[in-house]
Amino acid sequence: MSIAEKIDWWPRDDYSRVPFKLYHDEAIYEQEMERIFRGPVWNFMGLEAEIPNTGDFRTTWIGDTPVVYNRTENGEIAAFVNRCAHRGATVRRESYGNAADHTCIYHRWCYDLNGNLIGVPFQRGVHGKGGMSDDFHKSDHRLRPLRVENYHGVLFASFKGDEVEPLVDYLGPHHAHHIARLGSRPMKVIGYQRQYIYGNWKFYNENLRDLYHGTLLHEFQTTFAIARMTQAGGSKMDPRHRHNLSWGIEGTDDDEDAKKAYEEAKVKDGVLSLKDGAYVTYRPEWEDDISISICSVFPNSCFQQIRNSLATRQIRPKSMNEFELFWTIYGYEDDDADMLHHRNMQANLVGPAGLISMEDGEAVEIVHRATAREGDFHSVVEVGGGGPIVGTESESLCIDIPCRGFWSYYSELMGIEAEGGIR
């Protein structure tokens, strides 16, 4: 049965009802890896700052495909599937390093930094016997390349280099502007964090596009009066509505007004204060006043600014039931020691132990668990209303409209759009 037949119903053409079977089907997962992650999209891969010197490399995952990226002799960045063209072994097993070439340990086939096959031991055999056929040419066998774009120090890669639209068009004006903002100074990696979540990768993409949960699930924000739905904030999307940029500006609401709103909603607000909250303070460093922004790019990434904590998040699906969330915490080359330390202190807010983020791991897992046997039922996605998604901006933090945009574009790539479905 085709996927389209399996998903023979979208209860509504505005994607405000999402069938749970979409998260719990092996065939769907297989198709996602081909049509989405290896399809005509730009996947976030890594940061230029991670590989400053010739031969610097890192290994990563695009979808569940292992990938290596490195700096070549001419200073460019190349990426390829981390699979030997010979018998399919993982070529580069380390997470990072520096090397003049990549040699597979199995039979020592050797590739240059552009992924070209440059060495095959005993290609002509031994004492005139054995070896490769005469019609074997090294140039026919290379590591499978990905197309790479370096956008203000942020590396994106695509398996469909010929078909994919230009990166800036793919990002759309808001996201292109925002990533350029984050990459306006040379970056410096502070460290990595990883969170292994037992749930389907799409639940996390929804989480990133659901502004409504921000101060309800993450109670640190309201308990210590750090961020509230009553502040100025909202969402920006690309014209195709596949990406989302949630933003907020602290200090733009009134304590009394916020207190009243949360009391009416029966949600606690501002009941405690931190004994030593100095490290939580925001040190303005941008021309705009935005103190929190969660910039999500379809299908695998998020660029986060939580006060002065900057991080990329890469979603690495492991199976339909698991994904790893890979965080790269960074600052800037021209940060002084105090600012780098301040950013590292604010790493307390994010990641698997983050005071404002740990809950997402649990939220994804409890949804995954409860929906596994409920495939014929669906979720409700209509905070901020249903129907067509009008425009690309919304000035409310009480919405989950960008989730519907995610599903619309997902359906287009998967070939399962609702009849007359919104885009």
């Binding site: 997470s95 990072y96 990696v189 502070i190 460290g191 990595y192 964090q193 990883r194 969170q195 292994y196 979540i197 037992y198 699930l217 109670e219 640190f220 308990t223 210590f224 009941v271 405690l272 931190l274 004994k275 030593d276 909250g277 490290y279 790893e324 915490i329 780098l340 590292n344 202190m345 790493a347 307390n348 990641g351 698997p352 132990a353 005071l355 740990m358 809950e359 791991g361 649990e362 939220a363 897992e365």
Partner: protein, 158 residues
């Protein structure tokens, strides 16, 4: 030469520390640290790349207290029991009088409310232990996590 009494006291501190976590006495657990303590949880991959990036960093007892208050009052996490196992403590004299550098291995098993147990975290403690009067306390406790792809989330201290 380290006096056997001090060795015993330091071993007791290591044991009490994990026992208090596993029995949910976190408000008392804070008292195993000095006022100017540093408690950090750092992924092993960062240590190996000489990167300072942490998962948790508290630079005094007030910040440690805030972590615990947040854990009690604000954070949501997977409902679970922890069980710490520590082994191979290696106690050396540190820099300064009555200061000790202590290394020990740990593993933490996590059990959910259905009684299913998983190995949650493996790593080691790298400590600077000092004496406040007759009582040894952690001036620094660095938790280096081998299991740095942290399953689900990390709420309860390691």
């Amino acid at each position: 030469m380290i006096e056997s009494k001090q060795r015993e006291q330091i071993n007791d501190l290591l044991n009490d520390y994990v026992w208090y976590i596993d029995t949910d006495r976190l408000e008392e657990w804070i008292e195993f640290f000095t006022d100017d303590c540093t408690y950090r949880v750092i992924p092993r991959e960062n240590v190996e790349q000489n990167l300072p990036g942490v998962v948790i960093l508290c630079e005094n007892k007030n910040q440690l207290t805030d972590r615990i208050v947040s854990y009690r009052e604000a954070n949501e996490y997977n409902l679970h029991y922890d069980r710490h196992i520590i082994s191979n403590p290696r106690i050396e004299n540190g820099k300064g009088k009555n200061t000790f550098h202590v290394l020990s291995n740990y593993s933490v098993y996590q059990s959910n409310l259905d009684g299913e147990t998983r190995l949650f975290s493996v790593g080691y403690y790298d400590d600077v232990i000092v004496y406040e009067g007759d009582t040894p306390k952690f001036k620094e406790r660095t938790v280096v996590v081998d299991t740095f792809s942290i399953p689900t989330l990390l709420a309860t201290p390691l």
